[in-house]
């Protein structure tokens, strides 16, 4: 859910239900690495409520678009981590198999 203003799309707070530091901190990282972002941070308003607020302020681009791009970036990172990890595990297993022969 997005809380913002229709007049100024460049600043918004996004409320993500059922999420915690796991996603919010990773998104804070990718958002802060985006040159279009001026300010970004997140908070968990109450520890017994499973929800997190992420604040995004941009240099002018719609915050919604920037947020989506950051999610996309994080996904690309994950995909690369996964392929690199699978490759490393496969190499390790091959090496071990050839050593034991």
């Amino acid at each position: 859910m997005e809380h913002g203003s229709y007049q100024d799309l460049s600043a918004s707070t996004f409320t993500l239900p059922d999420e915690d530091h796991t996603l919010a901190n990773s998104l804070r990282f990718t958002l802060n690495q985006d040159p279009r972002v001026t300010v970004c941070g997140y908070s968990i308003p109450h520890p017994s409520e499973a929800r997190v607020n992420i604040r995004v302020q941009t240099t002018g681009d719609p915050a919604n678009e920037v947020m989506k791009d950051s999610c996309q970036d994080l996904m690309m990172i994950c995909q690369h981590v996964r392929s690199a990890f699978d490759q490393a595990v496969a190499d390790f297993k091959n090496n071990k198999a050839s050593e034991s022969e």
Binding site: M1, E2, F14, L16, E19, D20, H21, T22, L23, N25, S26, L27, R28, F29, T30, N32, Q33, D34, P35, V37, N64, M67, K68, C71, Q72, D73, L74, M75, M76, I77, C78, Q79, H80, V81, R82, A84, F85, D86, Q87, A88, V89, D91, F92, K93, K96
Partner: protein
């Protein structure tokens, strides 16, 4: 302070970071009193004054990111993640612990228990026993679901300590017997007027689980050798345990890892050569044998950093006055030594790929909601 004309100020370096800033960015320094430069500088414009772009470039990330597997067995693995931010490495760790599903005993039907262990304690102990089965073969059971062959695994435990033996006997986890056809206990029937209706058990399996191809020659077992309780002469336990799928964030019994943790790669630097007696002193100081002595010829002995990876950052080597300048302890900020210890339900390498997949799914969900 004297006034300095603007034109006499030193020129800021352009398009590269000066060494001390680079050190702050890439290393955590561990000093005698406390670590410094612990905060990661992630803002894209942090070094704009020096003309250095700190933003995320995926092609650069792809070029620099490396994975090195150090150790891999069926239960645990150790690997290095190089070139990734702590926030993302931590996300993987958190997902491994609390958001990957496994099967665990959730319901215990006690028919008879004369053991000294209370039923609720017994049930708790049973819950914590890891079940060696791939949770991806099962579905979650929601509140309105009836237990069936797709969402429940049933185990039976019947153990008696004979009075004649006069000795205590130990009940182990491997005494749990898998019941592929579901519960054997009958539900109390409300209307006995209809004798034709089939008596119902606590589960409604439509088929036996051992007829499924996954379990045909591969019965479901639990981790053997875990002590559940001890029985005195004449005591008996008879119960049925029902396992369902769940997440570690609900209860730790559903966590697929015993532990999953990472540490940053230690870096030990000797800015100046340490020779002679001081070298021997340094070698003796370190409890994990990070340092070695190198013979330089002419009887000169010099201390070298032989095993920096073993360093636990106990800071014993810099504790004595004066040593802080001789040894520099640092951690590499983007190099994580990741360790996963699986409970046995899934191999550790599968757990990690699943964890990465879950983070991806989370991002995808946010994109769908915002579009």
């Amino acid at each position: 302070m004297p006034k300095i004309p603007l034109s006499d100020l030193p020129v800021l370096p352009q398009n590269h970071l000066p060494l001390h800033i680079l050190l702050q960015k890439t290393r955590v320094s561990c000093n005698n009193d406390a670590p410094t430069n612990t905060e990661d500088i992630i803002y894209s414009g942090a070094y704009a004054a020096m003309g250095v772009d700190n933003s995320l470039r995926l092609d650069e990330f792809r070029k620099n990111f490396k994975v090195k597997v150090i150790k891999l067995s069926e239960e645990d693995m150790e690997f290095d993640l190089i070139g990734i931010d702590a926030s993302i490495a931590n996300a993987f760790r958190r997902i491994l612990i609390s958001e990957l599903p496994t099967m665990a005993i959730e319901k215990v039907l006690v028919a008879n228990s004369s053991s000294v262990v209370q039923d609720e304690v017994l049930a708790h102990r049973l819950g914590l026993i890891p079940i060696q089965v791939d949770p991806r073969l099962f579905e979650y059971m929601s509140e309105n679901d009836v237990p069936n062959e797709k969402n429940t695994i049933v185990f039976k435990l019947h153990f008696k300590c004979e009075r004649k033996s006069g000795e205590r006997r130990t009940v182990y986890s491997h005494d749990l017997k898998w019941l592929p056809s579901g519960s054997e206990y009958m539900l109390p029937t409300e209307n006995s007027s209809d004798p034709s209706s089939k008596p119902k058990t606590y589960t409604s399996f439509t088929s036996s689980q051992d007829s499924l191809p996954e379990f045909l020659n591969n019965p479901i077992t639990v981790t053997p050798g875990i002590i559940i309780t001890k029985l005195g002469p004449g005591q008996e336990i008879e119960l049925e345990a029902h396992a369902v799928k769940g997440l570690g964030q609900t209860h730790a019994k559903w966590s697929p890892v015993a532990t999953a943790w990472y540490r940053m790669l230690p870096e030990v630097i000797l800015p100046r050569d340490i020779i002679g007696e001081a070298a021997q002193k340094l070698v003796n100081k370190c409890p994990v044998k990070v340092f070695d002595i190198e013979d330089m010829g002419d009887g000169v002995k010099r201390a070298t950093v032989a095993r920096p990876r073993a360093c636990t950052l106990c800071r014993e080597c810099i504790r004595e006055p004066g040593w802080e300048n001789k040894v520099e302890l640092r951690r590499v900020r983007d190099h994580f030594i990741f360790t996963i210890e699986s409970t046995g339900a899934m191999p550790p390498e599968v757990l990690f790929t699943e964890a990465v997949q879950i983070l991806e799914d989370k991002c995808e969900r946010v994109i769908t909601v915002l579009s």
